[in-house]
Assembly symmetry: none
Homo-oligomer: 418 residues x 2
């Protein structure tokens, strides 16, 4: 089953509001096996809405419209939908009574303009909205041998979600025999998109219309998304498992998790499981590594703390970095990274100490150490070592990339892979 | 001038990625006076892309396409655009050389698949991309008396933004005579939306179709966006200035900046100007305050460093917090916040020391100190003090809100307003 999403609102076109509704609807419909084939945003204009409804039904049986159900004059979705289906708008006293009650509960009287929110296109089913004043609408129409289904929802995200989850989706599931679709997202880091492709090799024998693979790069690494379609759950699960194990065999060391896992949570879980504690000495990342580690609930079990050593004075005074090494090799150097990691480990008495020192940018680069030159250090009871990275040109991106690299360094160490 | 945005990517349709590009583009085009009349998202499919290009030019002179420029087989935007305009794709050795250079700088060899990123539709202008591997494209074609303009950009947000700001927008401004619209965003913190509204008072005499005010709340505070329309620059500037000064008179102390200012940059600028240094002792924020401070380029001039004291052991051993106070009042208390701020200031020898200690959540709350209870401390040569906050229930939001509150505490201190 195909669907088109139509989100209505001038505020979306001028970028005042990010369209999170579309992503949320896309994800939930997809899980149900409905393919969203297009998402369209138009302003609060009757003709634009009618045109996109028409175009929507050219490729999809279901159109979901959100937004434009408010009480003000620029909310015209109700009117546009009624005109498109060629029916009148009728006043529904029950809806208005509920709206009035909502206002009165807050000690306010209902404005006359809210009457428009009680207007319903004739023949449409009202989806009651206990969390706001605009109800949703549901309508199905036979056109020859096919059907046109419409779901109209308010644009306020929590109202839209409430009505979708409690009213629209159950109706949809009940009404339609929907095919099965499943996803699996594999999270990698430390390897680029094209190198993954090279290692995985030619998949043309495996991939096809019922099994797809997408590469989604980001600052934490490349996510690989497998999508499978089929008639039974067993069939799609088997296809996904086959492709996943093919991928895992080839790039296992780069895979840190699946789905919504984060590298900091994966690493944190490994530390907690082994009863290890960690401390961090940060220069170029300025607290970002500690911030990521402590974003994980329960991280106080293994994060003891850290030193943000932005100045050389703190590197020397707190972490015991040698002034001579700073002088001779510079703050961005292998020895300093190693001394920082070992120093914070000793100072805070943890099992593991890690460090970052680099040229985050945009200024401060030299021919030898251009912007993006970073050393990350790792110390444990067996000793210390450091690795040089050559990253990007943008300061905040460099902090992100460095933090990902050092978190991955911990992961690989704990797995004995480095 | 009308524009249609076309964002391409299966990941958008299944809701894996929220389409922030569309909002960003909408906002920036709007500022320039370009009306975005439709935003469309389709999957990685040549025919879908071509169809939406055709429909786009039915209502707009400009179509901006983002996404689908990667090196893998599912990236088909380049091909679709070339087919739509009826031109061949040609290999551009210069682009490939730059891509190869980017790989080699990182000590990697460029994979063969990246050659596709150097393919350019004949006659198109290449917009060089120094921050990624896919360049943008620009093309203008006369059709009868009108024109078809296309801008093709990568989907990775920071690459898209870079190319838009540095390449596409300047070309667009130069080429077209555009009507005048101007925005002014005033950034506030420490005051809620409804309290701002109460203080500003009734604006119905000032606002109208040519002068608008929007309230945009977020975790850093409420942004107030003034928008003015007019025929001359002088006219819109005067209208904005009038409304801005009305607002400033009423809520001056809460305003920390305008436009893209960040609280950390504003505070950093104040510190740098006065030649003051700062250090931070963080517990519940776990490095986030230091991270924000060091996101500012040039922050090494005033950020000496800090201690992330996640465990009591670090609070006592590094910061000199009294074990008796920890025992009697608990880590989340006024005295601990004050001792942490004074301790880090003394330890790192800075003019100012600040601190955070609280229950970030989601667990760890007690009846006395529920989740969201936070103390922030401030120490300088005149002494130390702390303020209690009662924030939210969500861990990461609490880190954000706490960091905003402590940064604003510095600002108000330096201004003599606290």
């Amino acid at each position: 089953m195909n669907a088109v999403l139509l989100t209505v609102g001038d505020e979306l076109l001028i970028g005042q509001v990010v369209n999170t509704n579309a992503a949320w609807l896309g994800e939930h419909l997809n899980t149900l096996g409905v393919d969203v084939v297009r998402m369209v945003t138009v302003g609060d204009d009757i003709e634009d809405i009618k045109r996109e409804l028409r175009r929507g039904y050219e490729v999809a049986e279901l159109v979901i419209v959100t937004g434009g159900l408010g009480p003000t004059h620029d909310d015209v979705t109700r009117e546009a939908v009624a005109e498109f289906f060629g029916v009148d708008l009728e006043f529904d006293p029950e809806i208005f009574a509920r709206v009035r009650e909502r206002f009165e509960r807050k000690g306010r009287t209902v404005p006359e303009s809210n009457r428009t929110q009680a207007m319903v296109p004739r023949g449409f089913t009202v989806l009651p909205n206990p969390v706001g004043s605009a109800p949703g609408l549901w309508y199905a129409e036979e056109v020859g041998s096919s059907e046109r289904l419409i779901i109209v929802l308010p644009g306020v995200p929590y109202e839209m979600k409430y009505l979708m989850l409690h009213e629209a989706l159950p109706r949809l599931r009940e009404r339609k025999g929907l095919r099965i679709i499943a996803h699996r997202t594999i999270l990698t880091t430390g390897i680029g998109e094209s190198h993954i492709q090279e290692r995985i090799g030619d998949l043309s024998g495996m991939l096809g219309p019922n099994l797809r693979l997408a590469y989604l790069p980001g600052s934490s690494g490349v996510r690989l998304r497998i999508t499978a379609y089929g008639n039974t759950r067993a069939e799609v699960d088997a296809a996904i498992a086959r492709l996943e194990s093919h991928i895992r065999e080839r790039i296992e060391r780069y895979i840190y998790g699946t789905k919504d896992d984060t590298l900091e949570a994966v690493v944190g879980h490994m530390l907690a499981e082994r009863g290890l504690t960690i401390s961090v000495a940060e220069s170029c990342t300025g607290g970002f590594v500690l911030n990521r580690l402590t974003n994980v609930s329960g991280s106080s079990a293994y994060v003891v703390g850290g030193i943000v050593a932005y100045s050389n004075q703190v590197k020397i005074g707190q972490l015991g970095v040698s002034p001579e090494v700073l002088e001779e090799e510079g703050a961005v150097s292998e020895t300093v990274a190693r001394q920082m990691a070992a120093g914070v480990r000793r100072l805070l008495g943890t099992n593991i100490g890690i460090s970052t020192t680099g040229v985050a940018g945009p200024t401060g680069g030299t021919p030898d150490k251009p912007v993006g030159t970073v050393w990350i250090g790792y110390a444990d009871e067996e000793g210390d070592r450091a690795v040089r990275l050559q990253l990007a040109e943008e300061r905040i991106l460099n902090k992100e990339l460095t933090s990902t690299a050092i978190l991955d360094m911990i992961r690989l160490h704990l797995l004995g892979l480095s």
